[in-house]
């Protein structure tokens, strides 16, 4: 197990290094001069050059990259060019917001989608299966801003049950915060349900058709026990992988939902940083999302190996 963990951590470190290189050099492709954008078209070229020098954006790229990475190792995430604030002061609250929304959405969608997927598999080709698979898929393909706006109109404005913005006032208790987060989380549930349920259904059907399931049935084990012990354990493997890969999207990719519900999360922060060529904020923001994504996939690998010992044995060999 230790070797399995070490291997995964090593791979994660290599991935992070590659990510940092891609993020840093990819950001440089964005058009525009940093100081010119900050000072505006009327500023003298000497003032622009001076600010670029002050910000270090006139140095060779490899030197800028080294300064950035070495800063990260010393806990210095840099200073945002557009807000003139330490990056950690901007990323910290945004990350907490995104994690809250992602966690709430996960808590709602994961059990629901797994139950839906299993139910569809058990009632394969019946009405329940059709409703869950076709209904889920139909909801998934509706763009999230459409789903979000419908939920806002129905539950926020017409029925007046939930706030139309997701950010609860400062000092709100957990219940109030959940009330504010409900509509964006429900939007995510609708977006993700069909996909996760479909993967779960496929895994369950495969497990139901497997020899070990037939053997268990023939042994005379009760159907419920067979499903719990043999089917679910195996059918959830692909589902876990899918859920883990959605983490990056939930933390850093919710630009539309965060904008629609005026929620100050990582998606909006990174998007505006890219628009404004705010390198320190953009690069660190993407890197943080990458780290969260890697942690999630690492946890998924661990869960995977616990459910399926063949994986850790294969790595250990």
């Amino acid at each position: 197990m230790a070797r399995f963990l070490l291997t995964r951590l090593g791979l994660a470190a290599i991935t992070l290094f590659l990510l940092s290189v891609i993020v840093f050099f990819g950001s440089q492709v964005l058009p525009g001069n940093v100081a010119r954008r900050k000072l505006g078209p009327f500023a003298d070229q000497s003032a622009v050059d001076q600010l670029n020098h002050q910000l270090g954006t006139d140095k060779p790229l490899y030197e800028q990259y080294w300064n950035w990475v070495s800063g990260l190792f010393h806990g210095d995430l840099g200073t945002s060019l557009s807000y003139n604030l330490p990056v950690n002061q901007l990323i910290g609250p945004a990350l907490v917001h995104s994690l809250k929304l992602a966690a709430f959405a996960f808590v709602m969608v994961v059990p629901l989608a797994i139950l839906g997927g299993v139910a569809a598999a058990l009632k394969r080709d019946k009405l329940t299966d059709r409703v869950i698979t076709i209904g889920g898929l139909s909801l998934t393909v509706v763009p999230e801003f459409v789903t979000g706006i419908i939920l806002i109109l129905v539950f926020g404005l017409w029925l007046d049950l939930f706030p139309v913005s997701a950010n609860a006032p400062d000092g709100s208790n957990i219940l109030t915060q959940l009330k504010y987060l409900f509509l964006p989380a429900l939007t995510l549930v609708i977006v993700l349900f069909g996909y996760i349920a479909r993967i779960t259904r496929a895994g369950t059907i495969e497990s139901l058709d497997a020899d070990y399931t037939r053997t268990a049935m023939l042994k005379g084990l009760p159907r419920r026990t067979v499903i719990r012990r043999h089917v679910l354990r195996n059918s959830l493997l692909p589902t876990i992988a899918v859920i883990a890969t959605q983490t990056g999207y939930l933390i850093g990719g919710l630009v539309v939902i965060e904008t629609l519900f005026n929620y100050p999360g990582m998606g909006r922060l990174i998007f505006t940083a890219a628009q404004k060529k705010d390198f320190p904020l953009l690069e660190t923001g993407v890197l943080i999302v990458g780290i969260v994504f890697l942690v999630a996939t690492l946890l998924a690998d661990l869960a995977y190996s616990l459910l399926n010992p063949r994986i850790r044995y294969a790595t250990a060999e």
Partner: protein, 567 residues
């Protein structure tokens, strides 16, 4: 001679030549009462004085044709106190008076800061930090009397040197404010400001300027007066100012809260507090107003906020403005080197259809010059350019350009992509194929300098311009042939006669002279057509029905110090 006339004569003895000229124009019936009030306040007469003179001198015949809101704010009796929640578009820069270049940032600056004067929705100047102002005889020197006893929120007393230092920082070519310099460049140079005593600031201008007080008012939204020893980069830590509200908290990307400043020099704010919430898009702002999560939306567009226009729970405040789009055609590059081709494009456009379709009528039609109908100096006798497809085709034929293809660049904000699409359709009707290239704002504007900006380098493009209470900036930055002045000259227009006329216009101190030059500029631009000005749209704000006494100006400034709730 009756007592009133004696008082008028006594007043006139102490007024400048320019002020007396405006009084003469009014008395002779050359300008309306509203225009007299507007011009009078701009040159430094107080509102009570102007009102007295307006009554005493009579005159002022003619229709009320300029300025003014189309739907004034709702006023009435309100309860004391309360927290007014405002939806504001997300500021794009740190809160730094030198760096702010957008409406959200301007809203933040004006929340705690005050200006020499406030340019209201009628284009009048209301005295604030300056009690009064007056020019010398030729308008090259303007002297401002600074209000005494004004306290900064931190407790210091504001003196004339704070005003001098504020403007010195704004116009500093080495790191000043790009936006402030768009108005003051070529008008006021470093070293031109003096503060001979604590209550006087003297601006020595580069050339005569009849609209100078407007250029240093709230219309120049960077020009909040800050303490002389405050580094503007540190302003965001305290939001130091003298206004009726002071900072309680500020969270970047989220919002800010302000509370009543009990040490305010004027009438104390009615609300206990004012809360700003930042939004990236106007859709969520509008939903927030309808969902009762905010009380006031600082600005919305017709295309994004149609739901508010007929909402019985909302008061929509429409202020006539000069906010517009410019469709530039590069005069130095094919296919637009021949002015007949540029004229043909302009003639292909149905402006009324644009105003109706894109703005639901909440806009004035443009006549291919920066002289919007709301400006008093605009000569409205110049014939309006109408759609004429046959004439456009004939012009193309005469120019030997019966069909060609050109790329139109712009960015994906507001109604601009729709406008681009419509221009493409209109051009197709005269045989011109336009390929649209619509990017994000950052890509379109680039570095904002020639050679590094699609906006300034493209052969054809659509650019958005915010409101200005006087047309000076529109006449210079996007159209001047002088490279130091024409820094936004995307049409690469160079015309010595035009530059000379603009100089005359800027120097003109009275409305008659301005109008005379304006007519020549309007005719010259109609003939040359470097830029199509299809419309000038109104500035729309919205308030909940129970929120009264809000003030909006088309510059994006708002004043909620008198606002309150009916219940």
């Amino acid at each position: 001679m009756d007592d009133t006339q004696r008082r008028v004569d006594a007043i006139r003895k102490d007024r400048s030549e320019l002020e007396n000229h405006i009084i003469d124009e009014y008395a002779a019936g050359k300008i309306t009462r509203r225009e007299f009030v507007r011009r009078g306040t701009v040159v430094g007469m107080s509102i009570p004085l102007v009102s007295f003179l307006a009554a005493a001198c009579g005159g002022g015949g003619g229709g009320e044709t300029t300025g003014g809101g189309t739907t004034p704010t709702a006023t009435g009796q309100v309860t004391a106190g309360g927290n007014v929640r405002v939806a504001l578009i997300q500021p794009t820069t740190e809160p730094n008076p030198l760096l702010v270049q957008d409406e959200g940032g301007a809203g933040l600056l004006g929340s705690t800061g005050e200006f020499l004067s406030f340019s209201n929705e009628k284009l009048e100047l209301e005295p604030r930090i300056a009690e009064s102002w007056e020019p010398n005889d030729d308008g090259t020197v303007w002297t401002f009397k600074i209000r005494q006893g004004v306290q900064f929120h931190s407790g210091g007393t504001l003196v004339a040197n704070d005003v001098k230092e504020t403007f010195d920082k704004l116009i500093n070519p080495d790191g000043g404010s790009a936006n402030a310099q768009s108005a003051l460049g070529g008008v006021l140079s470093p070293g031109g400001i003096e503060a001979p005593d604590d209550s006087t600031v003297v601006f020595n201008l580069d050339a005569a300027n009849g609209n100078f007080p407007t250029l240093v008012s709230s219309a120049n939204y960077n020009a909040i007066i800050i303490p002389a020893d405050l580094d503007p980069a540190d302003w965001g830590k305290t939001f130091e100012g003298t206004g009726p509200f002071k900072l309680e908290s500020f969270t970047p990307k989220v919002g800010a809260k302000f509370v009543r400043n009990d040490a305010y020099w004027g009438t104390k704010a009615n609300p206990d507090s004012m809360e700003l919430k930042f939004y990236d898009e106007e859709g969520p702002m509008i939903l927030a107003l309808q969902g009762d999560e905010v009380d006031f939306v600082e600005h919305f567009s017709v295309s994004g906020g149609k739901a508010l226009l007929n909402d019985p729970n909302v008061n929509v405040i429409a202020v006539k403005a000069a906010t517009h789009r410019e469709l530039h055609m590069r005069t130095d590059k094919e296919p637009f080197t021949d002015k007949r081709v540029r004229q043909a494009i302009a003639l292909s456009i149905d402006r009324q259809a644009l105003v109706d379709g894109l703005w639901e009528g909440q806009a004035d039609i443009g006549n291919d010059s920066p002289f919007a109908p709301l400006y008093p100096s605009t000569d409205t006798s110049v014939p309006q350019r109408e759609q004429n497809v046959d004439q456009a085709k004939q012009l193309l034929a005469d120019a030997g350009m019966t069909s060609f293809t050109v790329e139109l660049n712009t960015w994906n904000g507001f109604e601009i992509p729709d406008l681009a699409q419509l221009v493409k359709q209109y051009a197709a009707a005269i045989g011109v194929t336009i390929n649209l290239k619509i990017t994000d704002a950052g890509t379109y504007y680039g570095d904002g300098v020639f050679g590094k900006s699609t906006w300034l380098d493209s052969v054809m493009g659509i650019t958005d311009y915010g409101h200005r209470p006087v047309p000076n900036v529109y006449l210079t930055a996007p159209l001047s042939g002088d490279p130091k002045v024409g820094v936004w000259n995307s049409a690469h227009f160079k015309n010595d006669q035009y530059d000379s006329l603009v100089k005359q216009y800027v120097a003109a101190l009275d409305i008659d002279s301005q109008k005379g030059v304006a007519k020549q500029i309007e005719e010259l631009l109609l003939d040359e057509t470097p830029i199509v000005f299809p419309y000038f749209y109104y500035f729309l704000s919205a308030a909940k029905k129970n929120l009264l006494n809000t003030t909006s100006a088309a510059t994006g400034q708002f004043d909620l110090s008198k606002a309150g709730f009916t219940s």
